[in-house]
């Protein structure tokens, strides 16, 4: 079986010493350059003058902010916004890049999604520690009862695993299904499937960011309840 037929084999583009630079990495770099360049350009006033670009960006920002504020109100929401919004934008563009012929979306590689899930895992704990300090962060683990501590710890890891596998499985299976249909039916038949790809790409990006947000909020929300109980308002 050739490498092209195996959905797991990601072709290596070139090598730097012992590191194989795969297609995933190259496409990711491309997306990063694109996003950073666009962000830098959008700050230039001549582009600001184009109302369409500005209005689109503002609407995007407002939608993201409204979504985040619905889950984490007040100062916590403003603090997580850069991270979650970056996740959303990056994953959406990555997922959508799979629609372009010849490109393989970076998120259909388990390495990318695992890296993203690892980031979310680290960020969740870092955020909880930064906002509530070590004592209250650790108290979160024995919160209802110390008997549940092992389960709390297991759930921390299992949800990161599912976060990675979910995005990877969805994007990889979409790409695989598209490839199979193209082999079977040729030119125009895969078009509905590609439309599904576009829809699914956006939904999966939304879900990934939303779950990351809920995980971050989870460490904050239980703390807030704790605080209010202590203050006697609950």
């Amino acid at each position: 079986m050739s490498a092209a037929q195996v959905p797991f084999a990601i072709p290596t583009v070139f090598r730097i010493g012992p590191f194989a630079i795969t297609e995933t990495v190259v496409v990711t770099w491309g997306i990063m350059v694109l996003l950073v360049a666009f962000a830098a350009l959008a700050r230039v006033s001549s582009i600001h003058a184009k109302k369409g670009v500005l209005a689109t960006l503002e609407q995007l920002y407002e939608a993201v902010e409204a979504n985040i504020r619905a889950v984490i109100p007040e100062r916590g929401g403003a603090a997580v916004l850069p991270f979650i919004a970056t996740l959303w934008v990056f994953i959406a563009i990555s997922n959508l890049s799979g629609v372009i012929p010849g490109l393989r979306s970076p998120t259909s590689d388990l390495s990318t999604t695992a890296a993203l899930a690892l980031l979310v895992f680290l960020y969740t704990h870092w955020f909880a520690v930064r906002y509530y300090g070590w004592r209250r962060y650790l108290r979160h683990y024995i919160d209802p009862s110390p008997l549940l501590t092992p389960f709390q710890i297991i759930s921390e890891f299992s949800r990161s695993l599912t976060l990675a596998i979910r995005l990877y499985g969805n994007m990889m299976s979409l790409q695989l299904a598209a490839a199979i249909v193209i082999v079977l039916a040729g030119l125009l038949v895969p078009v509905p499937l590609l439309m599904l790809h576009v829809l699914e790409a956006v939904i999966q990006a939304y879900i990934f960011g939303m779950l990351a947000l809920v995980y971050v909020a989870g460490s904050v929300a239980s703390q807030d309840v704790h605080d209010r109980q202590k203050a006697g308002s609950l």
Binding site: P7, N67, T162, I165, R166, N170, S173, L211
Partner: protein
């Protein structure tokens, strides 16, 4: 039939059965989730935003069950680690 032939047949049957069985549970669960969400939407249209949010998160959670099986099925079909035992015997 050769051992490799049996291996191929077994892998194919198992892969098909696995994904078929694995679709049943999430399918039923998603149906329930969506019907409940529509029910709550009909009762309280004003809480649409939070219902939709929870609906998507819940669907993602349920869907991931089927996707675990899909990943395992693809491993069985394309990258079966047990195949090495058979080939290098």
């Amino acid at each position: 039939m050769t051992e490799l032939g049996w291996f191929t047949i077994a892998s194919t049957i198992v892969a098909g059965l696995a994904i078929a069985i694995a679709s049943i549970g999430p399918g039923l669960a998603m149906g329930r989730v969506i019907s409940q969400a529509l029910d709550s939407l009909a009762r309280q249209p004003e809480s649409e935003a939070s219902i939709t949010r929870m609906l998507f998160i819940g669907l993602a959670m349920i869907e991931s069950l089927a996707i675990y099986v899909l990943v395992i099925v693809l491993v069985i079909l394309f990258r079966n680690p047990l195949l090495a035992n058979l080939l290098h015997k």
